[in-house]
């Protein structure tokens, strides 16, 4: 299991390609999920993920280790995603997408219903709950990705569940 310290050591010895390979192994899917949770379109999220790692590659020689690697990377990722989101806000009406899979009619309608309800949540709650399920229900991962304290993530999750429960009751 790769640790951020391993990357730091490689960067100190200027082995940028090895360090970059390790970073990709560990973070490429996470960054993609973060981008997807913000942009909601797989193709665009993948393109932006490429941009983020390209920028990271160019910036590796000036990484000074003051911030944790994950914090640094997720900061680049969020900034890039939000600037893309702002530029292309007209494209943000697409619903949440997952990989295509055969579903029964009833399941499809349940998925559609819960996704519609998710769309009615405040943005931050929707992002937190989406990432929570993307990241195998890890509060720690979500907190790192969004640069929020773990308790804040929990509080957003509670509010989101309460709001969804209220909407389902009605």
């Amino acid at each position: 299991m790769m640790r951020d310290e391993d990357v730091d050591a490689l960067l100190r010895s200027r082995r940028y390609e090895d360090a970059f390979g390790l970073i990709l192994d560990r973070y490429q899917e996470r960054v993609f999920r973060l981008a997807f949770s913000i942009l909601k379109e797989a193709g665009r999220a993948e393109e932006v993920t490429q941009d983020i790692f390209l920028k990271l590659w160019q910036a590796l020689p000036i990484y000074d280790g003051r911030a944790a690697l994950s914090t640094w990377l997720y900061t680049i990722a969020r900034n890039r995603c939000f600037s893309t989101f702002r530029k292309e806000s007209m494209r943000m009406t697409a619903p949440l997408e997952g990989p295509a899979e055969p579903c029964r009619e009833e399941t499809v309608s349940q998925h559609a219903e819960i996704k519609q309800l998710l769309e009615r949540l405040p943005k931050v709650q929707r992002e937190v709950i989406t990432l929570f399920y993307f990241q195998d229900e890890s509060i720690q991962d979500v907190a790192q990705m969004l640069d929020l304290p773990e308790n804040t993530v929990k509080s957003h999750l509670h509010r989101a569940r309460l709001a969804l429960a209220e909407m389902m009751r009605n």
């Binding site: 490429q28 920028k55 900061t75 997952g98 399920y133 569940r161």
Partner: protein, 135 residues
Amino acid sequence: MDCQNAKEKLLESFESALSDDVKGQLENHLTTCPTCERFGELLNQIHAQLKEAITAPRLSPGFRAALQARIDRQPRGLWTHWLPDVAYLAGSGAAILCCVFLLPFPASSVLWIGALIATTGYSFQTLLLSSVEEV
């Protein structure tokens, strides 16, 4: 355990395992309170639906190759990070030398003052750069 506590513990149970003690108290409460029991069932239903509906997307198999192709088309950028510093120091050095030859003051004084100004300027631009840098 009252209803408010039960509600909080039910919400918490989706993020971290409850202790056996709390779990026991919650189960006792749920057997005596149909409202909280229904709330718990609703939360379970929501959790199950979210888990099914929100499936993590995966990058396409060609992601790494496409990224590598873009990287190959770009210069590393290491030199471009150094270039402003090198240009600044070379420019400062040249300016100080010109002043040494042109100004009617002792060369050592001009050198010291020039070096002081160049160093202050360099420190200021470094601070400014780090405060506005995006990454």
